[in-house]
């Protein structure tokens, strides 16, 4: 795995192909949890964690089970069940190990199961780092970093939006634009701003 490719994945996933602003994955939790900064931070951490580990697990399953037994066409069902199970297990473990952490993250974990960002990144990993059912060189590490940085980009935008919406709550935005519409307009201009990174090369 070379550094250049790694940096491209990092910058690409955080800024250029940001999951919220450019790929439109995970918009429901983005709108649902971006009212305040504090929950946004918790949600962000949970998403980074789940996306990284889902990338690891689904990669292994795809490589060593689905390809081996010629079940590639079942990946949608397999992946969603695996992610749901993983999230459920994580929630149970956290609850047993650390109650404070569970209080902070607990309610967000189940929500993540239906977050299309998680399932989306695992599909993206498979689509970009497997060619004809064979992993490309460094495929595993690329997948993991893509999962991590996609989660990081998601969390960054979630956090920014939460801080902006906290401020917008104090302002008298036009009545019909309050709430979701103005959040979308803000996201739109944010997306324009992030276009400054397009065409990145090293």
């Amino acid at each position: 795995m070379n550094l250049q490719q790694f940096l491209l994945i990092a910058i690409g996933m955080v800024f250029i192909q940001n999951f919220i602003l450019s790929k439109f994955l995970g918009l429901c939790p983005f709108l649902g949890v971006s009212h305040e900064v504090k929950p946004a931070i918790s949600m962000g951490i949970a998403v980074i964690f789940v996306m990284t580990f889902s990338s690891i697990i689904t990669w292994l399953i795809y490589r060593y089970i689905l390809i081996r037994f010629d079940l590639v066409y079942l990946r949608t069902i397999f992946f969603i069940l695996v992610i749901a199970t993983f999230v459920q297990l994580t929630e149970m473990v956290i609850q047993k190990v650390n109650l404070a952490l569970h209080k902070a993250l607990g309610i967000y974990l189940p929500l993540i199961t239906t977050n299309c960002a998680v399932l989306g990144v695992t599909f993206l990993n498979i689509d970009s780092f497997f060619v004809n059912a064979k992993p490309v060189a460094g495929s595993f590490l690329y997948s993991v970093s893509q999962g991590f940085f996609a989660g990081l980009g998601f969390s960054l935008v979630l956090l920014l939006m939460a801080s902006i919406r906290e401020r917008l709550d104090l302002c008298d935005t036009p009545e019909s634009l309050k709430g979701v519409p103005i959040a979308f307009i803000t996201a739109s201009i944010m997306s324009l701003a992030f276009m400054g990174f397009s065409g990145f090369r090293f």
Partner: protein, 198 residues
């Protein structure tokens, strides 16, 4: 339970409870695949198909599925139909399928489908559930077509691929992600405005 009128159940998904504009569900595909009217129609049909059959199956199994593990059961049913749709589209409409990309398999986590399964199909008889699924699916399609129409006409100067006016310099931004967010934000604002006036 009061008797529900079938026609009303069907029509509510189209306007009064439109999944995208009013209940705010299923936004990810609504923004991602609305770059052209063609893509929007393809996505709308796929979602309507899955919604119709998942509502049908879940409603007919509603007395069999145990309460506690209903969510995993729903997921399995939905995922099966999504897989079928994905394979059918790849086989018969390879171009549309490629245009929609990972958003076809991602229908599985589309909140509209899970939402209707949980909120409607698991509690209502088969016939009404099918109508509900059809209405919601068509409502989703309608929303997608409206969004994609704005985006394609302004952003590319075309409608379903036909050039509308010569000499028009399209606002390229509208087919970019930023334009999708702007379109949806303004459309939602406009709908709020109309609702308030009434």
């Amino acid at each position: 339970m009061e008797r529900k009128r079938p026609l009303k159940e069907f029509l509510k998904g189209l306007f009064r409870e439109n999944p995208v504009f009013v209940i705010i569900l299923g936004l990810c595909p609504a923004l991602a695949v609305s770059t052209s009217v063609e893509n929007a129609l393809g996505m709308g049909v796929a979602v309507t198909f899955v919604l119709l059959f998942s509502n049908l199956i879940i409603s007919s199994l509603r007395r069999v599925i145990p309460e506690k593990i209903r969510i995993p059961c729903f997921i399995v049913v939905i995922a099966s139909f999504v897989t079928i749709t994905d394979l059918l589209m790849k086989g018969f409409f390879p171009l549309v399928s490629r245009g929609l990309g990972i958003f076809v398999p991602l229908i599985v986590v589309n909140c509209i489908i899970m939402g209707r399964a949980e909120a409607y199909a698991s509690k209502n008889p088969i016939f009404l559930s099918v109508l509900d699924g059809l209405g919601m699916g068509l409502g989703f399609t309608l929303a997608l077509v409206v969004i994609s129409m704005v985006r394609e006409v302004l952003g590319a100067g075309t409608f379903l691929g036909f050039l509308l006016a010569k000499g028009f310099r399209p606002l390229t931004v509208m087919i970019l992600p930023s334009g999708a967010l702007l379109t949806l934000g303004l459309l939602m604002g406009g709908i709020n405005l109309i609702k308030k006036k009434r």
